[in-house]
Symmetry: C2
Subunit: 228 residues, 2 copies
């Protein structure tokens, strides 16, 4: 693929999607896609998305509202009655923060948009090895979705689904992010707070452990003292 080719980058506003964007812009023109779905920290994530789109000079941006995920609920991120779990993820357990089949919605939007734009790939910052264990972050899910996209679009449309972070640890993500000058201060990971990160939810724990193992310090403000 030449650096003239366009790719769609799914950018949640977290650290993983920011690094994915940094990798995509090395070889491609980029269009940035963001999804709102009624998650607790929606406005903070959207602000990070726009800051990253400015930083990486995205030539187009699309913000999608997934109204059905708001309506369907079934997750601690979208249903205020289900508390956000604190502590590190538990091996083999799908956490309550799993939003049912959410990533398929984001991919469907990215493929539709990519088809109209004439893009050659969709970049997604999914992480599987060192993650919360969401089933829609599995490498096999992305392979199957890529096949569905190949079959379900025009014959001349050919969109690869690229997941460059899928096997990385959070520490490697921090290290590579620092090396590539990713503005990590413009990303957000916390599931429950928008002013200062809570430091306690699964997502904060994974992020903080990543910085710790990378021998670095997270530039974000935290509510409580950073847990040891």
């Amino acid at each position: 693929m030449s650096n003239e080719s366009l790719v769609v980058v799914c950018v949640s506003g977290g650290m993983d999607s920011a690094l994915t964007a940094a990798l995509a812009v090395r070889d491609h023109r980029v269009a940035f896609l963001h999804g709102n779905y009624g998650q607790r920290t929606e406005s903070k994530e959207l602000a990070c998305f726009h800051a990253l789109a400015d930083h990486y000079a995205a030539e187009s941006r699309l913000v999608v509202d997934f109204s059905d995920l708001r309506q369907i609920g079934g997750s601690s991120l979208t249903d205020a009655r289900v508390p956000v779990r604190e502590g590190e993820p538990v091996e083999g357990v799908v956490p309550t923060s799993y939003v049912p089949f959410r990533n398929a919605h984001i991919l469907a939007a990215a493929v539709s948009w990519g088809e109209v734009l004439g893009a050659v790939a969709v970049y997604v910052g999914a992480v599987w090895e060192d993650s919360s264990g969401y089933p829609d972050c599995r490498p096999e899910f992305y392979r199957a979705f890529e096949e569905a996209a190949r079959l379900g679009t025009r014959p001349e449309t050919s969109l690869r689904i690229v997941t460059p972070l899928i096997d990385l640890s959070k520490a490697e993500i921090v290290r590579r992010g620092l090396r590539l000058g990713v503005p990590l201060e413009k990303t957000w990971s916390c599931y429950q707070a928008e002013d200062r990160a809570c430091g306690a939810c699964e997502s904060c724990r994974l992020r903080l452990r990543g910085f710790r193992e990378a021998g670095s310090t997270d530039p974000l403000p935290y509510r409580a003292p950073t847990p040891a």
Copy 2:
């Protein structure tokens, strides 16, 4: 599957999805899903959806607004600047009425909802053999999406994607619909008009040919005299 099991039925409000609903209710409890995406005949289709949900006593209904498909455009159904083509579909040509990867959005919503409801299958009235040639109506697309859904949801979630009409002709759909007492007067197929069907767009042509070949008369009102 017992008749106690629940299935999600994707109901656009057309003849095909009405027959699909009739087939689903023979063996299952049903939850009806409908998608708005800025198509020209959105309000008429939604009214048919609710009439069919009443008729088949759907135990829940979900209406989803696909805001990105509105924004993305790229189809004569969602972009007022692209005219709706008239006449029968042309073999091997993807028509301008193709909405990029639309059915993936509907399936993603159905799988998310089905996972939360504990459903065992998603029914979709896609037709391939006697259709407009939309790539997201291919049988292989549904098989690939079923695999993506299996991999991208909780281990205990197991949703089959069922497409009972995929190989039927429009005439067979009319015949089976009449035999099963499907209220065809409560369905809508026209792509461009909401008061009286135009009789000229691809979708009207397919529908009218189906009735003609089935030796029956369409109960819907048409603008022009029914073309021979």
